[in-house]
């Protein structure tokens, strides 16, 4: 009886909130532009290799560093080794986006688990766990990542792990905060007094409250991760040849700045567009889930 009523109330509350948020998001022009842009870039990443006769590794020694041209379908030109940039940028897109998405997912999972446990358990354990987070926070993320990469070598998988291992901190904090707040609501007290199991409480009451801020933060985390990976790859500490990523392509572009500027401009443009897209989407999500006039 209580379950039925509870379910109805929760469903109604959650649904109308979500629907309102969705409506606000869809009405936000920049957010839609961001979404479309991102879709185009992702589309490009997977469709490009099908459109071009070239692959990312073949060296065409007769066509070194030629500017973008329709001839021979080198739409973005070639680099110093005669490799086609069109296909390479797409490959870089796949790597950068994959790292961004997967690493964020790892961070989110670790962060949610850590934060929920700390928040729910409370007391000494919570204090200790958050102290740990505080100390880790003191070291700039980038440095911690570089240290980790130094230790474990340069290998895409480990780059993932390194970034993920560092970026979960903020999510843990957010989740812990929400868990603490939710724990004190009457909802949870009532459920607990009726004998609901802790797991059920966590999933039914705490998770829905946490989802909003976590989604917003995750959306802003993906571009951060892509940026960190780009920085690392640029410095030679990230993705290595024969793989490629935007960061790597940009560093190669910097090397041929005066002779072949397109080698810098094209991957840079893609990275910038992706950053813009995520920023618009993230801002849109934030406004949709927590609207405030004019700010």
């Amino acid at each position: 009886m209580m379950r039925e009523a509870e379910r109805l109330v929760e469903a109604a509350a959650g649904e109308s909130l979500l629907r309102a948020a969705l409506a606000r998001f869809l009405a936000n022009r920049s957010a839609i532009v961001g979404l479309v842009l991102l879709a185009l870039i992702i589309g490009f990443a997977f469709v490009a290799p099908l459109l071009s006769p070239h692959d990312m590794e073949t060296n065409d020694w007769e066509r070194i560093q030629i500017a973008p041209t329709a001839e021979q379908s080198h739409w973005f030109g070639t680099d110093a080794n005669g490799r086609d940039l069109f296909v390479r940028v797409a490959a870089g897109a796949r790597v950068s986006l994959a790292i961004g998405l997967l690493t964020t997912m790892v961070s989110v999972v670790i962060g949610i688990l850590y934060g929920a446990v700390a928040g729910y358990v409370g007391g000494r354990a919570d204090q200790f766990m958050m102290r740990f987070v505080d100390v880790l926070y003191a070291l700039p993320l980038f440095f911690a990542i570089i240290i980790l990469v130094t230790i474990f070598g340069r290998n895409i998988f480990l780059v993932f792990m390194a970034i993920g291992a560092v970026e979960w901190l903020t999510i843990a904090r957010i989740v812990r905060g929400q868990t603490l707040a939710a724990k004190q609501t009457e909802y949870v007290e009532a459920a607990r007094s009726l004998g609901a199991s802790p797991l059920r409480i966590i999933f039914r009451h705490i998770v829905p409250n946490v989802v909003g801020p976590v989604i917003v933060f995750s959306t802003l985390l993906i571009p951060t991760v892509i940026l960190v990976e780009s920085f690392l790859s640029f410095l030679g500490l990230g993705v290595q040849e024969p793989s490629t990523s935007w960061g790597l392509l940009i560093s190669q572009g910097v090397g041929s700045l005066d002779s072949a500027p397109w080698l810098l401009i094209v991957p840079a443009a893609f990275l910038a567009a992706t950053m813009f897209a995520f920023n618009f989407i993230g801002d849109g999500l934030r406004d949709a889930l927590d609207p405030r006039d004019g700010t």
């Binding site: 440095f143 410095l235 500027p261 840079a268 910038a272």
Partner: protein, 314 residues
């Protein structure tokens, strides 16, 4: 006030120690070592080298030796650059990085705050939209892209500014690197200032100040400015971290002889002492900035000064 400072130091120093310890053990426990690249060395020479750098002793003992040396200000020898000690390398690079970083931070603040306030005063009109768009560009586009792009435009195409090099601190060599470092922070600070100013503007005491017949410029200067700045102080430490991160890449792009360059070098060649030394310097800088932020906070908010709030409430 001095009790406040001592209080903060008591918290910050252990944090530094933890960072040093963590970094130290992480580096030691990693697979592989600094001499892996020199694979062609004979075993005996390798042994001697390792002994020379104390790498043959138990890890815990190495830690003790390291701390002892650290207390004397000795960061150990650099394994990669055999003729220099880490302290010497850092001493070479630090002035460059400091100059770059501090200039960038100062400019970002001195330009960002007024821009943010101007945007807020003209909310939703063209200055706000323009500043907002610039801020978006600054935040979304990393220095990874802006630095080479500016070099392309101003250095290669227009030939107005040098493409790379420090030139012993000549101002022309600093323009591009500093601009690339400033942009992201400027954007964030402007946004924060705008948001903060709008928040303050909605407060009752601002309305009360106007009710006293004070003209808007007086209301802004005497009543709105200080509270606007308070939340920004919390951003000081992250701003420093951001500048430090950016400077690593900037120094690489422009070939500047700063600390960042040694850091990357050390990471690539697994030069533990060098990497550790740089981490310590950077971590100390962040902690000093935290302290500075707390002090500034005290200057701005009388409640902190008069001891109402223990430590900075952020």
């Amino acid at each position: 006030m001095s009790r406040f400072v001592l209080n903060r130091l008591a918290v910050l120093l252990p944090t530094l120690l933890v960072i040093i310890t963590l970094s130290f053990f992480l580096m030691r426990l990693a697979p592989g070592g600094p001499f892996d690249a020199d694979a062609q060395l004979e075993p005996e020479i390798l042994e001697n080298l390792r002994a020379a750098y104390d790498l043959d002793r138990p890890v815990v003992e190495q830690y003790g030796i390291y701390l002892a040396r650290l207390a004397r200000g000795d960061l150990g020898p650099s394994i990669g650059n055999k003729d220099y000690s880490v302290s010497e390398l850092i001493a070479i690079g630090l002035p460059v990085s400091l100059q770059l970083g501090l200039t960038a931070l100062l400019l970002a603040t001195l330009l960002g705050v007024p821009l943010g306030i101007i945007a807020a005063l003209n909310q939703n009109r063209w200055p706000d939209t323009m500043i907002g768009s610039l801020a978006l560009v600054g935040i979304a586009i990393p220095s990874l892209i802006t630095a080479p792009l500016m070099t392309l435009v101003f250095g290669v195409t227009l030939k107005l500014l040098p493409v790379a090099g420090w030139g012993d601190g000549a101002w022309r060599n600093q323009i591009l690197p500093v601009t690339a470092l400033v942009l992201p922070q400027l954007a964030i600070i402007a946004r924060l200032a705008r948001g903060s100013f709008l928040d303050i503007g909605r407060q009752n005491f601002i309305r009360a100040a106007r009710a006293r017949g004070l003209p808007e410029w007086r209301v802004v200067l005497n009543h709105a400015l200080k509270p606007t700045l308070i939340p920004l102080v919390s951003y000081l430490a992250p701003a420093v971290a951001g500048v430090m991160t950016g400077s690593i890449v900037i120094e690489q792009i422009f070939g500047l002889p700063g600390v960042g360059r040694y850091f990357v070098q050390g990471a690539l060649s697994r030069d533990y002492p060098l990497v550790l030394g740089v981490v310590i310097v950077y971590a100390s800088a962040v902690l000093v900035m935290n302290l500075l932020a707390d002090l500034i906070y005290g200057l701005l908010d009388p409640r902190v000064r008069r001891g109402q709030l223990a430590g900075a409430a952020r």
